[in-house]
């Protein structure tokens, strides 16, 4: 993936928030890159820092109680230190974002057409209202909204959830962004609509060559569309690799847990799903050493030292993980029954 310069390069991103109870380390040293035309999925549970990472790239987490460190380069612009003015020009134009809940993400008192046009005219000053409206109609058609010239005048509450998300995508595409960030785009939608939205994203990638960052907790979505996957836990990246590497050769216990807890058609229904025991970690008082240690059934002495995110597979410099276990131990331990999963101590399978 490193033939051409990457579209987006993030290095050691750290984001913390000062709250009444202390410093919350939402993102604790995250690095990754996205190439043009590539779909990178960021996977994790609530509190892992995936959404904060995405929103920080857009500058949406800036505030007087936020501390942001690190680097994030888009082309030749440094996003984290860009001025508010520069960011305004980038948002919606070079980078676009679609959010989780399309119902609340659209302003209920304005018509859809006006909201799309608003974005277009914010970035193309000279364009006339009617020309912008025409563009809006085209965009809506492109994302599969029927009768788009009529629906321009509709309000958000007159659309279904799936349609609203398509509107969000249309808005995001309006200024031909180089990078699209999708934060849980299908979580609030039905499974059937989910497939349609993912199809839209796929088409988008093919047609425009944009890079896509897909933030999700749903591995099924990842399997559907991602090229590379980044697994986050407690503010850190714990594993990173191509989609095949992740699904067929996962190297971090947390990843095993995620994979093991998917309901699969080919699994014996009488078996209990191995779940990851314990509670999500507090971002306020992060544990010493490996953040996953309290919930990891395979923790051992070394885990009290912070593991580094490095490539541990010989000849594969792109598959990184953050676990001290030896490679062979990993490949043995991750198999539970005949599937990949994360064993809790009480259910050791011989």
């Amino acid at each position: 993936m490193s033939a051409a310069a990457p579209l987006l390069q993030v290095d050691d991103l750290r984001v913390s928030f000062a709250t009444e109870d202390g410093l919350v380390r939402a993102v604790d040293g995250v690095s990754f890159s996205v190439a043009a035309g590539e779909v990178v999925a960021i996977v994790g549970e609530s509190g892992s820092g995936k959404s904060v990472t995405a929103m920080t790239l857009m500058g949406l987490t800036r505030g007087h109680n936020a501390r942001i460190e690190g680097r994030a380069r888009l082309g030749d612009t440094e996003l984290l230190s860009a001025s508010e003015h520069e960011l305004q020009r980038i948002r919606g134009a070079s980078i676009a974002m679609i959010f989780q809940d399309p119902m609340s993400s659209l302003n209920p008192v304005y018509r859809i057409g006006d909201q799309i046009v608003e974005q277009i005219r914010a970035h193309e000053r000279g364009i006339s209202k009617s020309a912008a409206m025409e563009r809006a109609v085209e965009l809506m058609e492109r994302v599969g909204i029927p009768r788009s010239s009529e629906r321009l005048r509709s309000y958000p509450h007159e659309f279904s959830g799936g349609m609203r998300q398509r509107v969000m995508i249309a808005m995001a595409l309006s200024c031909s962004p180089k990078l699209l960030i999708a934060d849980e785009p299908t979580t609030a939608l039905d499974v059937t609509i989910q497939a349609q939205i993912l199809e839209e994203l796929r088409t988008l990638r093919e047609q425009t060559g944009a890079g896509i960052i897909l933030v999700t907790h749903d591995l099924a979505v990842v399997a559907d569309i991602a090229d590379r996957v980044i697994v986050m836990y407690s503010g850190r990246v714990v594993e990173e690799g191509t989609i095949d590497e992740l699904f067929y050769d996962p190297l971090h216990p947390y990843t095993w847990g995620l994979l093991g807890s998917i309901t699969r058609i080919d699994r014996d229904r009488s078996q209990r799903l191995p779940a990851i025991s314990g509670l999500p970690p507090s971002l306020l008082n992060t544990p010493k050493g490996c953040h996953f240690r309290p919930r990891c059934p395979h923790a051992f002495g070394r885990c009290t030292d912070d593991p580094q995110l490095i490539a541990r597979v010989p000849d594969n410099a792109e598959h990184l993980d953050r676990c001290w276990l030896e490679l062979d131990r990993k490949r043995a331990l991750r198999v539970v029954g005949d599937q990949i999963g994360l064993v809790s101590p009480e259910t050791v399978v011989s």
Partner: protein
């Protein structure tokens, strides 16, 4: 001009806002919402300070009979047209053209001056405070109890019960509050209603308490209506529990925080309303002292001694202000993300006495 920062709520990945997660983690399991509220309350020092101030005012006034002798050697109703020595000079307490002396700042005689009848302002302030606070408290009690009952009944039983109760509440609500207050006050004064003849302090409290019932009953009713749809009510019905039992043990605890938040609001309101009604002649009648009567009489005697307007007025504002600030902090503590509820059913309460 920096725009408002997004609250931490938006900045964790779904689920609970960062601060609530952090708070819960720190405090440990098994801590109920009221304990959490108390902790938040403790952190809001300004609010607590005003709460303490209010308590001090209450104590000061309630204990008046105990120490008033030290403040002034006469009671609150004792008129005195004689003379006293002030700083060596002998002066008329009330001058020939009706101007009473101002504050002497000497404890024991006319510390805060005299009113046009020669009465000691400081003592009247305290005794009057007692009356104003008592009226406020009783009125608040009446409002809260009746409003809770109406709200519960209307919201729980709906149908005809709700229809009747809501219509009655609407009629009361549509009548401008102060106007209704003086109508009822005047009627009571002139004729009396059953056992309530004339204007005792109690009758004023009753009038005030009555007038504000809809302002509290409507939000409570709205909340009960919503709660009623929730599963735990169905579950309780299935268990065969009686309606009253359900209302008290299932629904009431859930509206409790709304009720608690309304109490300081209503108290502040009642005290302000008493002052207003008295100014218009339909509240506390002379010679009973109250902050309202003192301010009214002071205004009637402008420009004689403006301190007689300022003193009770400032005391009143201080008392009401401390209740308001404390009540605000209370509301923040009970629900840090509470929207002030709007809509035509729930008028914002403070505007009632104008």
């Amino acid at each position: 001009m920096s725009l408002i920062d997004p609250a931490p709520a938006q900045l964790t990945d779904g689920g609970l806002p960062a601060e609530l997660i952090a708070e819960a983690a720190e405090v440990g399991p098994g801590v109920g919402p009221y304990q959490l509220a108390w902790r938040r309350m403790k952190r809001n020092r300004v609010s607590l300070a005003f709460g303490v101030l209010f308590l001090l005012i209450v104590l000061l006034c309630l204990l008046a009979p105990v120490y008033s002798h030290d403040i002034a050697h006469i009671g609150p109703d004792a008129e005195n047209y004689g003379t006293i020595k002030v700083g060596g000079k002998t002066e008329n307490i009330v001058s020939l053209i009706g101007i009473p002396i101002g504050p002497t700042w000497e404890l024991g005689h006319y510390f805060l001056g005299a009113d046009e009848n020669g009465r000691d302002v400081a003592v009247r302030l305290l005794y009057g405070g007692r009356n104003s606070l008592e009226i406020g408290a009783v009125a608040t009690l009446i409002t809260m109890v009746l409003a809770t009952i109406c709200g519960l009944l209307a919201g729980y039983f709906r149908g005809l019960t709700d229809g009747i109760i809501s219509r009655v509440l609407d009629v009361i609500w549509a009548y401008p509050a102060v106007l209704l207050g003086i109508v009822l006050g005047t009627v009571l004064e002139v004729h009396g209603l059953g056992p309530f003849h004339g204007t005792t302090l109690l009758s004023t409290a009753l009038v005030i308490g009555f007038v504000y019932i809809p302002y509290v009953a409507k939000p409570i009713r709205a909340q009960v209506l919503a709660l009623r749809e929730r599963e735990f009510v169905d579950a309780a019905r299935q268990q065969g529990l009686a309606h009253v039992r359900i209302m008290v043990s299932e629904i009431l605890p859930n509206v409790a925080s709304t009720i608690i938040v309304f109490i300081p609001l209503m108290l502040a309101n009642a005290i302000l309303t008493e002052a207003g009604l008295t100014y218009l002649g339909a509240g506390v009648q002379p010679p009973n002292p109250s902050w309202g009567t003192m301010i009214s009489q002071g205004i009637n005697n402008i420009p004689a001694a403006f301190s007689n307007v300022l003193v009770p007025g400032i005391m009143l504002v201080l008392a009401v202000l401390s209740i308001n600030v404390f009540g605000d902090g209370l509301r923040d503590a009970l629900d840090p993300r509470a929207k002030i509820r709007l809509g035509k059913d729930t008028a914002s309460v403070g505007e009632l006495s104008h």
